[in-house]
Symmetry: C2
Subunit: 206 residues, 2 copies
């Protein structure tokens, strides 16, 4: 029962943070939404920071699971699309984190360090993937291009949602996945590039 | 004399906003910094919003000048580098705008519309540039790649600074210019691509 309340608080907080921005939502507003007393909410989460930390931990767990998916074989282009799509749906589900990232990182130093960890892992995964593709003769890029591309993959992955929001555009994880794939696309060779083109046709309009 | 005070207020506000984030700086703090009375400050800027608007107007004027630079001839790669470098130095000079862009746009609807205008112009300029390069046979890309690349140029241009900040990295306009140029680089052909490679060597380390 207590566990149910805890989860209901997390769900309501996530929905409100996503809709109106985390700084604009008080814990009292969340308690109101659930029709529970502020005391009951504070029993589960002593401060708003604890609530934010618990939501961030859920998000982090999902992202780390995705980024460290076991690879018993070299990833093909379709696997990468799927991974990006899942990651970007997760980012969409926790979009309050990405909405004002600098501000969130300023106010919660602990989360800042953990977010940097996710970024580091993103760049490592992207780097490993590119190395695999180059080794298999499916991709060609200079070291300097590779370095910039890996940085751009992390940058576009992190800020596509804020970019859609600033433009008053719909949040579209499929289009965002293509935005990232298009960073790799021109470096791909032969059959692999054709495979990418075919998949892009399906994803870019999502 | 009044004009001097007005400019001194703008300069102090910009420096404080950039250093500590605009939401963390009150107009009293700015008056303190200049050793003037709050009343004197309010004579020049009735509210903090007016002060932000005046700074944004300076920024906007500089960006629009850059983006609408007359082109009596087709731009070459070196011109584009220079343009990006100047634009990114301007973004660095007004970095408080880019630090928490979503938040700023939420709180100042008028600025949001004007920022969207700058974004639109950025994408139009990038599109025109790509069209020129393709027409001259210096670039090759599918329509779908072109569309994604233009979006990525605007996205990386808008968020490179927030990305550097989230990573606790130095703010480096030269590296950011290369981040954007590297989006075009793999689509360039022959001599133009070689020219890009040569320039990248100079800029990427800045």
């Amino acid at each position: 029962m207590a566990r149910d309340t805890r989860q209901r608080i997390l769900d309501a907080a996530l929905a409100l943070f996503n809709a109106d921005g985390e700084p604009n939502i008080t814990t009292n507003r969340i308690a109101d939404e659930l029709d529970i007393s502020p005391g009951n909410l504070h029993y589960h989460f002593r401060t708003k920071a604890h609530l934010i930390e618990a939501l961030f931990a859920d998000f982090e767990r999902r992202m780390l699971e995705l980024l460290s998916a076991p690879e018993d074989r070299a990833a093909d282009i379709e696997d990468i699309w799927l991974l990006l799509h899942l990651a970007f749906e997760t980012i969409g589900a926790y979009r309050f984190i990405y909405r004002d990232l600098s501000d969130l990182c300023d106010r919660h130093r602990g989360l800042h360090q953990r977010f940097k960890g996710i970024l580091r892992l993103t760049m490592e995964s992207a780097g490993r993937l590119c190395d695999d593709l180059i080794e298999d003769g499916r991709m060609q890029a200079s070291d300097r291009e590779l370095k910039a591309t890996i940085r751009n993959i992390a940058l576009v992955s992190t800020f596509w949602l804020a970019f859609d929001q600033v433009q008053d555009d719909d949040i579209r994880p499929g289009r965002a996945a293509w935005q990232v794939m298009s960073l790799l696309s021109p470096y791909l060779i032969g059959e692999t590039r054709e495979q990418m083109e075919a998949l892009a046709g399906q994803y870019a309009e999502l």
